[in-house]
Amino acid sequence: MKKKIMSLCLVLAMAAMTLAGCGGSSAGSDTFKIGGIGPTTGGAAVYGIAVRNAAELAIKEVNAAGGINGYQIEYKFEDDELDNEKSVNAYNTLKDWGMNMLIGSVTSGCCTAVAAESSNDNMFQLTPSGSSTDCTANNDNVFQVCFSDPNQGIGAAQYIGSNNLATKVAIIYDSSDVYSSGIYEKFVAEAANQPFEVVSTEAFTADSKTDFSVQLQKASDAGADLVFLPIYYTEASLILTQANTMGYAPKFFGCDGLDGILGVENFDTSLAEGVMLLTPFAADAEDAATQKFVSDYKAAYGDIPNQFAADAYDAIYIIKAAAEKADAKPSDSVADLGTKMEDAMRTITVDGLTGAAMSWDADGAVNKAPKAMQIINGNYSLIQ
């Protein structure tokens, strides 16, 4: 009998929680509610936190300057723990909160899972850094701020080829990472059309990313004079250190994931001298907008912002530009707002931290010129 009462209580408690969960769904129509999703706990927390903070910074600026079309922005960021399922849960939570537009998800896999849900609602979704083409393919409502993976891979191969940087290229990539393997595949495909040869391809996974001596030895044995690193900077800093220890000194070339390598603790930055990377953003670039962003970000959160932060900062201003173009109002229904914003996105051009004159094609991928940077004297400098 006691058990029965217990289970009855439990059912009632759950029902009560259910009802409590939907208190905020009737949104006031005097503010835009922008939601964000990304990993703020766990191994990828760095990226999620960067996006969360930078978007918050941009929203504060926009609000201080009078908001979008005169409406203030409310902002809420949800954790997805780098898990597709949790990301969809976060999306549903934000919908309960009354979200009008979504920034996220930060990572490609989660973004794809969320995009499948958001396209059903025609919720306008702008991902700062979900770079896989699966995020935008067949989803009219999803747009990217960052380059898609294929564009980065093709761009890197063309850049190496047209500038005759190397004749023999080795690749070290992370096969367990969507970003890294996405770039790798397109790089290899494009390399067939370029005047260099891929002589060694070595993979590592998230479980084995501390010792790269085997991969470097193979690259060295194959006589590669350039090593392509479509990976994140933490692993790249280890690769540079280990290559130096074994006396192997090829050119190193990376993509936007390498941005931040100069900020790695206990890393001898002189080893990164001469490393080239295709990235849309460098924290120590000279232009006024970047410098203002970096100093504001540092003042507010104590870190130097990385490329994810810059993408998220741009994302807010892109939303602002599109919403102004579309004459969007918070009182529009989510689906109507989505349609308006999608039409506007395909016509606007935005100047941001991560590129000048960004525009978007029908698929939702961004068009902007890739910038090649080289590390010279401990600074990123633009290669003209």
């Binding site: 929680m17 898990d83 939570t93 309960d96 499948a116 096969s175 595949e185 495909a189």
Partner: protein, 353 residues
């Protein structure tokens, strides 16, 4: 005397299934009335999958008495084989329920076969050793899925363990399983009703098995292996039977899970040992061998981290603390004594009043 005991079992089973049915009706009414939050609507199908997982693991841990830490591996097999099938036949079988039914059978059968194959060597071990080996097998399954590339073009299927380029697909070919990036574009065929039907099916299978002749044999192995062997019970057969059924049911949960998500990836979080241990936590918290407890624990522990979202970054910390407190409340000897005392006092008060 005997019939009374049978009736008691039937009564208990009916309560367990009744809780599920009442839960279903309640949720359906709330959903129809439009008061159910989007978050909870999105959680319903994963919730069903976790309940099935917890109940099926309870068969291995509670009834067979062997500690298995590779349960997520079987879920992974079910999820990927069925998602593979559904993606391939998305355009040929357009009637979703039929496609899902076939996918379900394929997923459960594959997980069952893998469970049988793994069970043969593994079940020779006992206790900690068995736990470690199942853990290893679970990880092996996840890692194989992560390096598997399968594509399909006009000529048929292409396999590779290297990368999607070496599949050499023709123009118009489609990569179905893309290594660590998993399967993208699985049709969303599962829903809450299907989930609840599968839960009830799982409960019927497990509860009937427990109270059947075979179930008694399995429990006798748990209680005393030597005694069971001495009365002529075929140890290997019954152990394998329980393990295979448990694996096949986990595969069912995997099918449900994969058909709810558009992009399916085998990460340590959803198919690695983290998940296996999570399922074990459901079972332990709900009470080892207590099927109804597994159902309730799975519901509570899945909802908890989501309902704590209001606490932002402290959410996972508080979830852990709540978990520790709940475990202590349920299982610490002093707490059990305290609860008994409390219960006694209450019942005495009632008598006095």
């Amino acid at each position: 005397m005997k019939s009374l005991k049978n009736n008691k079992n039937l009564y208990n089973n009916l309560i367990t299934i009744g809780i599920v049915v009442v839960g279903y009706i309640l949720v359906t009414i709330l959903s129809a009335a439009g008061v159910l939050s989007n978050l909870l609507q999105g959680l319903l199908v994963p919730l069903c999958a976790y309940i099935i997982l917890a109940v099926s693991l309870n068969l291995t841990v509670g009834i067979l008495g062997e500690l298995s830490l590779g349960h997520a591996g079987f879920m992974c097999v079910g999820a990927f084989t069925s998602a593979f099938f559904s993606k391939c036949t998305q355009n040929t079988i357009t009637f979703a329920p039929l496609r899902f039914l076939i996918a379900l059978l394929i997923g459960a059968a594959c997980a069952g076969v893998i469970g049988f194959l793994i069970g043969m060597p593994v079940l020779r071990l006992k206790g900690d050793y068995l736990a470690i080996v199942t853990l290893a097998f679970g990880e092996i399954i996840k890692n194989i899925v992560n390096v598997l590339f399968i594509g399909k073009d006009a000529k048929g299927f292409h396999f590779s363990m290297k990368d999607s380029l070496s599949l050499n697909l023709e123009e118009g070919g489609d990569v179905i399983i893309n290594g660590a990036q998993g399967i993208t574009g699985t049709p969303k065929d599962s829903n809450f009703t299907v989930g609840v039907i599968l839960i009830i099916l799982t409960l019927l299978i497990v509860l009937n098995l427990i109270h059947s002749r075979d179930g008694r044999a399995i429990m006798s192995i748990r209680d005393n292996l030597i005694a069971a062997e001495s009365v002529g019970i075929h140890i290997t057969k019954y152990k394998l039977m329980a393990f295979t059924i448990s694996a096949a049911l986990a595969g069912t949960a995997g099918v449900l899970y994969s058909h709810n998500l558009n992009s399916l990836m085998a990460t340590p979080k959803n198919f690695g040992y983290n998940m296996s241990i999570m399922i074990l936590v459901f079972v332990v918290l709900g009470g080892i061998g207590n099927i109804r407890g597994s159902v309730i624990a799975a519901v509570v522990l899945t909802l908890l981290p989501e309902l704590l979202r209001g606490l932002n970054d402290y959410r996972m910390l508080i979830y852990s603390i709540v978990l520790i407190v709940m475990m202590l409340y349920n299982w610490a000897p002093n707490m059990i004594a305290f609860r008994k005392k409390l219960a006694n006092r209450f019942s005495r008060k009632k008598e006095v009043a």
